[in-house]
Each structure stands twice: as C-alpha cells, then as structure tokens.
C-alpha cells in the first residue's frame, strides 16, 4: 500500500505544479488583479477545459494535502488503532471536501 500511495503523492505533486500554476495564473495574473465577477466564472466553468482543470485541482489537491497531513501524523509513531482511526478521518475529510467542491460546480456539470 505504502509504495502506491507514495507514488500517487508524487504524481499529484507533478499534476498540481501544472494545474495549480494555471489556476493561479488565470485567476490572478491573466487580468491584472481585477475583481473576478460571477459572470466570468460562469463563462469559464461552462467550458469543459476549465471545469476539468478545476476538478483535477480539487481531486489531486485534496489527495496531496491529506497524504501530507497523514504523513506528518505517522511521523509521531502512534499505535495501530490510532493510525487506522486517523486514516479513516482523512478519507472521510477527503470525500467530504471533494463532495462539497463538486457540489459547488453542480450547475456547471449538469
């Protein structure tokens, strides 16, 4: 299990470098700090590319973040039962925030 989750962590890092970079670029640099309006967001999220990018960001961002947090937790050497509990928490948090994020995009997906 460890080798797989670690590998996906590294892959998510690469994906994030690209996707997060684009995200920050488009939202902040591409139109020199003008306040973003709902209408622009609607237009963007209406296109499959931007919607895909944002969903990728959501999935890989959450994975990378929660793997990182779990990694820090593991560094403190807690016992098996505690580890299982916290792992469960991470998975629940991941699914929860992913669900919330997708729900926010609901209108644009359907």
């Amino acid at each position: 299990m460890n080798a797989w989750t670690w590998l996906i962590q590294r892959i998510s890092a690469l994906v994030l470098l690209i996707v997060l970079g684009l995200h920050i670029w488009f939202l902040h640099f591409a139109h020199s700090g003008e306040v973003l309006h709902y209408s622009e967001i609607i237009k963007r999220l209406g296109t499959p590319i931007f919607l895909t990018l944002d969903i990728l960001l959501l999935i890989f961002g959450l994975y990378h973040a929660l793997y990182g947090v779990y990694s820090v937790f593991l560094d403190f050497g807690f016992g098996f039962k505690t580890r299982v509990l916290v792992l469960g928490l991470m998975i629940v948090a991941g699914i929860g925030f992913l669900g919330l994020g997708i729900y926010g995009f609901w209108v644009f997906i359907f």
């Binding site: 590294r10 890092a13 690469l14 470098l17 997060l20 920050i24 902040h28 640099f29 020199s32 700090g33 306040v35 973003l36 309006h37 709902y38 209408s39 967001i41 959501l58 961002g61 959450l62 973040a65 929660l66 990182g68 947090v69 820090v72 925030f97 919330l100 994020g101 729900y103 926010g104 995009f105 609901w106 209108v107």
Partner: protein, 130 residues
Amino acid sequence: MPSNETALSLAFRAKTQVWTTIGMWAWILHRLTGLGLVLYIFIHIVLMSSSLLRGQQAFDAMLTLLMRHPVFEVFDRLLLGAVLYHSFNGIRILLFDLGVGIGVRSQKVLFWVFVAIAATLWVWSIAVKF
C-alpha cells in the same frame, strides 16, 4: 537502569536536534507551508463552493472582499510565498526521488537555487501588484 524519560523529554530532544543544517530548515519550512496550505485549501473549498451556490450577488460581494480588503492583500502575498516555497522545494524533493542531487553538498546547492527562483518569482509577483 537506563532513563528513557530524560531522553524522551521534550526539552532534551529539542536541545539535541541538529539545528545547523540546511536540510533541517528546508524540511521544517516544507512542513509548515504544507500544513498552512492544507488549512487554506479547506477554507477555500468551503468559501468558494458556498459563494457559488449562493448566487451572483453573494459571490461578487465575497470576491470583492477577498480581492480588495488590505488584510487579504497581505494574506494573499503570504499565501503565494508559501505556495512558491512548497512548490520549489517540492521540485527539489522530486529530483531526489529521481536520484538527482543526492549528496551532502548538492542538496544544499539545489536548495539555494530553488529558493532563489521562488524568491524572484515572489518579488516579481508583488511588484506587478499581485
């Protein structure tokens, strides 16, 4: 009888770490920025989703607050700094995973190179009024 309590005491452990290496600080900063960014991502998802769902007016009001209020302007710059550090030190770590630069000296060189790039990008971003 060996004493584990003393060896395990926080004071003893804190005092006997190796604080004088680049690797130690690179790791600490990576961890701190990481944890900070995790907190941010949770808040960001909740905020953005709820704002989108509440409709045009609520969304625009939230965005105006986030992109214009002076506190958030400072916060955004710190956030960018954290993202840049974590990203570039992350690239350094990916290089280690590919077998590149794994030496006492080379890992330090890599650190400074990437920090320099990240710092340059950060300063430039602030200069162009990020």
